[in-house]
């Protein structure tokens, strides 16, 4: 009896590493993945230590919410760093779940995001997908191969993951899924669809973790700002000059920002509509041999501006976000003249000046213009962020100017603005 008990104890001890390894795969119990803190009843970040203790606290976010090489965890006023060797798992309020795993060809444990758990587990790490059947972790991969067809070089895509999935789902249900597997692409949604259908067909329990993580967050934004314009002309005649008395404009914008994309958390897209206005006086002169022409025009310029921007975060954490962006803006512009005059004076002969009530400048009604921006964003409350944006827009051939019989010349405008806004 003692010998039998001793043998059983030996087997149990020998299996301990195996039990730990099994904990990495298969269907994950709710006690591990749930991010609901029993003490508060609300969702929270958490870690599961190597010893199996689950602690709820706050994890310092990285810009890439899916990529952690270490975890800085704040718990009861103290912040500690944990490596994959220190933790079994950790989870975020947003619903992301990570396990410490040793991936194929890796020498040590890494934090791997779990997308789907069941008999087969779908994992993600740095752009690659892995499938874990509890015995082996395999990468789902494909590669291109150059082949020659009738002497012509072609590229063929070899989908290695198709055979991997077919082998792992072998059986009656797998046969039903063959068509779906063969048509699939190396994409998260395709793999999730295959695994979901497989587990439902087999009547196996499964859990999807990304359904709680938003594909993208949408936030309304409003901003106010001032801009300063400077101009240049590539075809102005040598004997012509111009000046705008006021370069300042005022602007207000409202719109939406799409941010925190599940797969591209550093990217954001915003679409706004705004109003830009300035009042200025345009003075111009043109000198030829026998006469001098001058023009003056007081006007108020108004533009409805619709910018579409793509932003990329250079720094993104809980305290601040610094991002740069590219913008394409549609400017629907009009202006209202207060007064306009052109004066032409004879230089030779009788000194006479003729005053004409004619415009010396017009603008282009509808233009699409490129721009760049650099911005900083800071949280001011749990639901509100303050952002400061510096943006430069280039308005090509925005104005056209002509004084009497002088040649028409085009004026480009570069508008640099500073905006302060709120993101809700």
């Amino acid at each position: 009896m003692i010998k039998i008990l001793g043998l059983a104890a030996c087997i149990l001890l020998m299996c301990t590493p195996f039990i730990y390894a099994q904990g990495q795969s298969g269907f994950i119990e709710e006690s591990v993945w749930s991010n609901i803190n029993p003490a508060t009843g609300s969702s929270s970040d958490f870690i599961v230590t190597k010893e199996g203790t689950k602690l709820f606290g706050a994890i310092l976010r990285t810009a890439e919410l899916t990529d952690y090489s270490k975890v800085d965890f704040a718990y009861q006023g103290n912040t500690s760093s944990y490596l994959p060797t220190d933790l079994q798992a950790f989870g975020l309020t947003e619903g992301h779940l990570f396990l410490s795993k040793k991936l194929p060809d890796a020498s040590e444990l890494e934090f791997v995001q779990v997308l789907f758990s069941g008999k087969l587990q779908l994992d993600y790490r740095r752009g690659n997908y892995y499938i874990d059947n509890g015995v082996e972790i395999q990468q789902l991969k494909e590669y291109s191969q150059d082949i020659s067809v009738d002497g012509e070089k072609r590229s063929r895509l070899i989908k290695l993951y198709v055979s991997t999935l077919k082998v792992l789902t072998a059986g009656d249900c797998g046969l039903e899924l063959n068509g779906l597997i063969e048509k699939s692409n190396l994409e998260e949604q395709d793999f999730i669809k295959i695994l979901t259908q497989y587990h439902e067909c087999e009547g196996l329990p499964y859990k999807l973790y990304i359904d709680r993580v938003k594909f993208v967050s949408i936030s309304p934004i409003v901003s106010l700002g001032i801009g300063s314009s400077f101009t240049n002309s590539s075809d102005i005649p040598d004997n012509a000059n111009y000046n705008f008395s006021n370069s300042l404009d005022y602007r207000a914008f409202a719109g939406v920002r799409l941010h925190d994309f599940r797969r591209f958390p550093k990217s954001s897209i915003d679409l706004r509509i705004g109003y830009v206005t300035r009042s200025t006086t345009y003075d111009a002169s043109y000198e030829v041999r026998h006469e001098i022409a001058t023009g003056t025009q007081k006007f108020k310029e108004s533009s409805i501006v619709i910018p579409l921007g793509y932003n990329y975060s250079i720094i993104k954490n809980a305290n601040k976000e610094i991002y740069v962006g590219l913008v394409m803006s549609a400017w629907l512009s009009s202006f209202k003249n207060d007064q306009y005059l052109i004066e032409i004076s004879n230089i030779y002969g009788p000194v006479e000046t003729q005053v004409f009530e004619e415009q010396s400048i017009t603008l282009t009604d509808n233009t699409v213009n490129p721009g760049i921006r650099a911005s900083a964003k800071f949280p001011i409350s749990s639901k509100m962020k303050l952002f400061v944006e510096l943006e430069a827009d280039y308005l090509n051939d925005f104005y056209f100017s002509q004084l009497g019989d002088s040649p028409v010349y085009r004026i480009n405008r570069t508008s640099v603005s500073l905006q302060i806004g709120i993101e809700l």
Binding site: S228, S285, E343, E357, A376, V416
Partner: protein
């Protein structure tokens, strides 16, 4: 906060370095509108013009030149005038025997110590 200050600094640098500073030729003469005309009767017509800017030249006289041709000139055509600096809106009535239902032209003018400034000519029909 440091980032915010950096933005303000960059913006200030751009703001103060981007004014258009071209050498537009200066104007010292007065500026005024094209005249408007009110025909009172066969011999009386009232001309009105607005001064936008008196300029810095000394104004000697002001008025209107009219006739039945569009190329009008003091000394060659009919003139109605006042002396010195005009009101912001100046008006003068001509006493002239206009031919019935004929097209005439008028220009406003201001004479300074440096030159004569004419407005555009506009046509009007006599009664």
């Amino acid at each position: 906060m440091k980032s915010g200050l950096l933005f303000l600094l960059i913006f200030s640098l751009l703001f103060f370095s981007c004014n258009d500073k071209e050498n537009v030729l200066p104007r010292t003469n007065p500026r005024f509108s094209t005249p408007s005309v009110q025909v009172i009767n066969q011999s009386e017509v009232e001309f009105i013009a607005q001064v936008y800017d008196y300029g810095s030249d000394e104004i000697i006289e002001y008025g209107f030149v009219f006739n039945n041709r569009s190329q009008l000139e003091i000394g060659k055509d009919q003139v109605v005038k006042g002396s010195g600096r005009p009101e912001k809106s100046f008006r003068l009535v001509s006493n002239h025997s206009f031919e019935i239902s004929k097209t005439y032209y008028v220009v406003a003018f201001i004479k300074t110590n440096k030159s004569v400034i004419y407005s555009q000519a506009i046509p009007f029909n006599s009664k």
